[in-house]
């Protein structure tokens, strides 16, 4: 959400600034767009295998759509499952597992119900976390790399424009008007490159990194939670341990009405 608001707000501001200074016409230049966008895209396609570039577009839609789920919901869910498992049995969770949305939690609980050893569960989930982080880092890397190419192709476009203009000067076109017009056009590509990098590529790369960080926290909470549930830890201990991952304000406070602590 804030991504879209940010882009619209930023573009609106620049639009106003440009219009007030005398009109959009110079800033809309198909030529300049071709060099900057085209060059950046070309460099990105050389830099990464095609499937990764495609996957990155998929990740991009994710970013625009929704936020990472609140970890404290999962703490609540794990505590509920623990209470149920302690009352009845681990197998009684089977029906609940089917409707768990989060893949990590579902895979973890399935392995608990199937009776896998804790080390196997830790092994599989940690490998999943590690490679999920790797894949997301790779996605952020595509945008970060594009953010480095965009200003470079802006500069390249400006150099093309400058050289062409200087050549015109050299062949006798020595009037200030022509020089001014040539330089104005030449600088538009630098403008495009800086704008693409700083209002799109870098911010999106940064957003993907924060998302990855949040997902890693969520995944560690689920991993710890599933293993504690399997070990049959007391719900209060689980809550304490899982809450340690969160900031004091966003912690989950469970009301242990139905599970008297003394019986533990």
């Amino acid at each position: 959400m804030s991504t879209i608001i940010g882009i619209i707000f930023g573009l609106a501001l620049l639009f106003m600034a440009i219009v007030e200074q005398g009109g959009l016409s110079v800033f809309l230049n198909l030529h300049a767009l071709m060099i900057t966008v085209g060059g950046t895209l070309a460099a990105v396609f050389i830099s990464f295998p095609l499937p990764q570039v495609m996957r990155t577009f998929g990740i991009l839609f994710n970013v625009f759509r929704s936020d990472v789920e609140n970890p404290s919901n999962y703490i609540r869910q794990i505590i509920d499952f623990t209470i149920k498992a302690r009352r009845r049995s681990l197998l009684s969770l089977e029906e609940n597992v089917r409707i768990v949305k989060n893949r990590f939690l579902r895979v973890g609980l399935e392995m608990v119900i199937d009776g896998h050893a804790p080390e196997t569960i830790r092994d599989v989930l940690e490998t999943e976390i590690e490679f999920m982080v790797d894949r997301h880092e790779a996605g952020a890397n595509v945008f970060r790399t594009a953010g480095r190419y965009a200003p470079a192709f802006g500069l390249i476009g400006t150099l093309i424009g400058l050289i062409a203009m200087l050549r015109a000067v050299a062949s006798g076109g020595n009037n200030a008007q022509a020089i001014g017009a040539g330089m104005a056009v030449a600088l538009v590509t630098t403008f495009y490159g800086a704008l693409m990098a700083n209002l799109f590529f870098y911010p999106v790369a940064e957003k993907l990194r924060s998302r990855t960080r949040e997902e890693r926290v969520l995944a560690s909470i689920i991993l710890d939670g599933v293993l504690l549930l399997q070990k049959g830890a007391h719900p209060r201990v689980i809550e304490k341990k899982l809450n340690a991952h969160l900031s004091p304000l966003s912690r989950h406070r469970h009301h242990f009405r139905e599970e008297p602590v003394e019986t533990a």
Copy 2:
């Protein structure tokens, strides 16, 4: 404190320099402010999830308000608690714990009194430290990122101004006065961007990082101290071990009047 003094001192210096060179009027430009501040804010809002940006403002007030507490106070407090616990019992600390201000120390002592295993205590406190550091790093990162965007939007504003001016030149406005005025205005955004980055965003990010480092040292001292207290270590050993975290000058020297070492 030194944060506020630094900003006021820096701004005063620049103000004097500007006034002496011929007046503030050119440097106060709403247009330029809109592009630089607005563009940076837009990029920051795209880069980070909204709650994190909000949290960062909270962290900012923290920085301006007060400094991290002196670790040697906590060493003293832990030694006092150890002496009391050795004389009476761990449970006797319950009344003291309630009024302990530092959350780490309070949580750790509560777990000691509740009789948790040392590994559990280490586990919970280390997870807390790790994720506290992560959250604070994330806050510093918001400012560092803003510090990278600000000069970029300064440049973008200057490019807009330059292109507009060159267009004016191209359409015949070829007099030095107009060019001078146009370039002066165009450069103001670069000035704003450099100022925002180097007198606000980067220094605050750096300050947050030093704060995080100090808090991590404090947290490790408390973690080690709580575990040594639980193990029933001798106060002198505790003092030696905890002091090792500090520079020789800022170490705590306890007067062990009431606890004869020989009895240990």
Copy 3:
């Protein structure tokens, strides 16, 4: 593939932009090419031992030729081998191993058949992975370093051109035409340097890094798979563990028709 398309597409775009702005002639400058390409090559030859530079050209052809094999094929192959080994014996894999194309998998299986201890196999394969990654990183590093030298020699060429032009101005050649022509030529080296770095060196270095990452994932899958096969793990467990390395979408789903799970 996408590498070649990217380069051709990028060059075509720039070619069009240049032609439209008034002809290629200024942009084709043997002098400028000599300084930029020659200087970059010279710096690269100083920076790296000769065999490494040569090896890097070999790696370059690899990048242009083909993509890393799909890891899920190897998961299938390992599961097939496991099923066969469980039905008959590890020795029965000998005939299959001979025709395995991937060196990691072949070496690993040979060691399993020869009866080496799991630690020895892990040791040899992990050393192989580590040093393969090191060698590929070294290759990527050659391109990344060249990408840093190219714009620097572009700048050096421009400085040579500028100084020569200014000297001409100083000796009385004070007409705008000569200045324009001199500066146009001087800027061509900067243009070459920026182009070489951003359309060739950096993208290829980046591509080599993504390749290395994919190969490391593939190698870890094979290492884990070979050790699980040796341990006699159940094919379903192998599939679960190896799939954890992949994104949910690209995972392998085996049809266990011939191997009833209940017998495990």
Copy 4:
């Protein structure tokens, strides 16, 4: 020592270059000094807590005063102590310890004499090393950060000068003399910023880092030596192990006249 020679030599060179080009007067500009030095100081005071900035000045005097002691002296001393301890007893070292200058060695030997367990000694000394390195890194960081701010405030000063000059041009002062004078003054701040960063801040930060590295080597030698002494290792083994930390040329060669190796 080499620090002071370096600074004087560097300043003398620049002084000569400046004088030869026509006089110091333009380069001595209180205004420019105020913006560059003042701005950098302001940013540093915002970036770091006051005590850390103060401590950094203390570290600075250290750097100018003397070099890190030669590690091979400490190897000799540890070997001498070992020989004495093997002949008489660990307690006989008490009188020697009192006059040991190096704090690490003194603390370590005191703990050996007091009969602490090797793990405790390793624990205390490793924590000391780790936090000493952290504190020194923090000191180097203050200078590195100042080195980044200085050119930025140089640029800010130049922008102020340029904008003021352009404003003057815009209001009709369109003569080359005024422009030249204005730009000369404006560029002086950039000159100051570059000089402060590259002849003072960065080099001092680098020096602090090399110092830290040397001190870490010395501290590891002492830590290993103290533990080997406590274990009662043979002096020749101690020499071999401790020398491994040093380059072949700077190693200590002990003449084991008084301690026949065969008796070990």
Copy 5:
């Protein structure tokens, strides 16, 4: 070797480019040389302790002289020693060890013959490797740092020249010839700085880093080989394990004529 060829080739290219553009005279400027070379040296002397700078010159000669020895030679040598030790005894290697050139291998074999425990040997050799790498990294760091200072002092020199020229303009010397001559001279220092950094300092730093990497590989091979020899491992196993450090092409293939594998 390739280092010298690279520097000569690079300088020849630039020489040709300069001569063709109108003569060397402007580019040979003692003044500019003094500022750039002198300033960089001064900054380097401040940055590092004197002995380290001196040691770095020693390392520099090493780089120019010869390449790291081929690791497969050492694999052959270790296998030969193993075969001999298995036939006769470890002590029979004593005569061979004396003439081993490589210090790592010699020290390792001496410790094996002296009957040290494997952990001691690993300990001593790993400490040697670690600190050798540290020392070489420190050498590379001197050049990398010099590579950062050189362009900065190039800029400082250019600023001095520019300011002096602008002052001349301000005092009425408003003719294009003088400006051109002044700027030409001013830019020469930037040219020197860029050239020193990109044709000498950075490439040599990079070369030192590749050398360090090769030496680390060689040292790990020797460490593993010595420990396997001591353990009495079979020569074929040693070959397999040590070859894993090398690329498939540069591996050693031993002809085990004299040592029948079956007897192992």
